[in-house]
Structures are given as structure tokens and as C-alpha cells.
């Protein structure tokens, strides 16, 4: 049975939501148990960013992490990943930086169809609501981003779904 486990991982019940708001927008929301200036630091100081941006389960690790976090500043994150012989760079430009409340950056590593990411930090009673808004240049660009990572409707797809669902049932006999 598929269940969200977030509330169990986070005893304070900081549920996360992901929503495709429109053809070209994805929105993620999540509360954090810390004031906005601390959460903002964790998103903007490279030495802190390095400690959480690549979760252990990703299998990747930082080779370098440079971020000049000010309006018109740039960033460049370079990762190593077992699936790639070459280092994998992610880079872009900060379009807007309002300390403690708002970050906007471009994602320029793709072929010009990259999204613009806006992150807002809203403090309420010592907690901070973080909203991540990813805006793609077009619906096609977001569909392509999704398609490039999904594989055709195949047994492999179902295995992936099985893993997603983490269903402890036996595999299906389809004779």
C-alpha cells in the first residue's frame, strides 16, 4: 500500500507538497523548524549548501560549490556521479536576492530551455515556510524535462513503479 511517510520522518508533521500548478510551473512547499535567516543561510552559504543539497541517497557528491549570492551573481555546482565519467556541472545566475526572504536563479546547464527557480522564505512563529517555484519557458520544456527522465512504458517502468510504491507484494504473474 502506497503511503506518504513524511509525517513519520518529521515528527512535527512538516508535510511537503509538490504540485504542477500549470503546464509550465512546479511548486514545492515545506515548513522548517528554524527562523528564516538561518534557513536562508543554509540555501546561500556554499559551505552549508554543500551539506544538504546532495542527499546521500542521490549517489552524487560535490566536486566544487561556488555561489556568489547577490543579484546578477552566478553559481556553479559541479558533481561527480557514478553514472557519469565526466563531472556534471549545474550553473546559472541569481536574478534576485533579498536576504532572508527571496532568491531567484536561472538554471542554464541545459540547452536554453532551463527553468527559473524562485524560492521564498516566510517566517511564522519561529518556523519558516519555504516555497520553491520552478517556471519553465513553455509547457513543452517542462514536458520534455519530464520525458527525458522517464522511460518508455515497459517492464522497467513497472519495476520503477514497484519501487516507488515499495509494495511488499510478490511480483505479478502475467503468463
Amino acid at each position: 500500500m502506497y503511503e506518504r511517510k513524511d509525517s513519520e520522518i518529521n515528527p512535527t508533521n512538516y508535510d511537503m507538497t509538490v504540485e504542477r500548478k500549470s503546464g509550465r510551473e512546479l511548486v514545492v512547499t515545506r515548513n522548517f523548524n528554524a527562523p528564516a535567516h538561518i534557513v536562508f543561510d543554509a540555501w546561500t552559504k556554499p559551505e552549508l549548501l554543500k551539506r544538504w543539497w546532495v542527499a546521500k541517497s542521490f549517489g552524487a557528491s560535490f566536486l566544487s560549490c561556488e555561489a556568489d549570492v547577490r543579484t546578477e551573481g552566478t553559481y556553479r555546482f559541479v558533481f561527480s556521479h557514478p553514472s557519469s565519467e565526466q563531472p556534471v556541472p549545474f550553473f546559472g545566475r541569481y536574478v534576485e536576492v533579498i536576504p532572508g526572504s527571496r532568491l531567484v536563479w536561472t538554471n542554464d546547464e541545459g540547452d536554453g530551455d532551463g527553468s527559473v527557480t524562485t524560492v521564498t522564505f516566510e517566517e511564522r512563529g519561529g518556523e519558516t515556510l519555504v516555497v520553491i517555484h520552478e517556471l519553465y519557458p513553455s509547457k513543452n520544456a517542462l514536458d520534455d524535462a519530464m520525458a527525458s527522465e522517464s522511460i518508455s512504458w515497459s517492464g522497467e517502468q513497472f519495476q520503477q513503479l514497484d519501487q516507488l510504491l515499495a509494495a511488499p507484494e510478490a511480483s505479478v504473474e502475467t503468463s
Binding site: Y2, E19, F32, A55, L164
Partner: protein, 121 residues
Amino acid sequence: MVQYSGAVLDASFAALSDATRRGVLEQLGRADASITDLAEKFHMTLTGMKKHVGVLEQAGLVTTEKVGRVRTCKLGLRGLVEEAAWIERYHQSWAARFDELDKLLEELKQKEKADVRKKRQ
């Protein structure tokens, strides 16, 4: 616009939580089939298979069409499943990051408290 954060995603994943229903989708991914065909393949009564197909249909994963006395099933909106799976991976990758971020924030808060205490002394 379809929303994936709530009911739709839940309905899709609830429909997919059953091994037989996943098998039915896999089967329909190869070829359309009647409910009778599916019931035979999965060694199930017609009534039992109708129920499973009904759940898949409600989740938008399968569409059915009755021609004469035969009800034919086919995959419906397969993009929806792929998109739901992509959204789920996207969700999982942020969730994994945020778990690490929670730990870091806790540490930073403690550090800030300690710094404030030091300044007061």
C-alpha cells in the same frame, strides 16, 4: 489543469497499490484486451476483474469501451502515470534533501543559541 499533490495522485497510487491491477496495466501496455480476456489471464472471476478495472478506470489509468457485448479495455492517459512517477521522483529528491537540511538547521540553531550565550557572558 490536473493537480498532482492531492486526490489525483492518491487515486493513481491507490489504484497501483495492487499487484493484480499493476499486472493488468502491464498487460494492456502490450495490447488492448476484453474484461473476459483479463479475467482468464489472471485466473479471476469476471466480477472480480470488473472491480479491478473499475478502480483503474476511476483513477484515469484505463478506459473501457463497450462494443456489442464485449467491453474492451485500454490504457488511458498513460502520460498521467509517467508524469505522476516523475512528480513522485521529484518529490522524493526534494524530501531527501530536506531531511538533510532539517538536521543542518537544528545544528545551526544550537550554534546560534550558544553564540548568544557566549556574548551575554
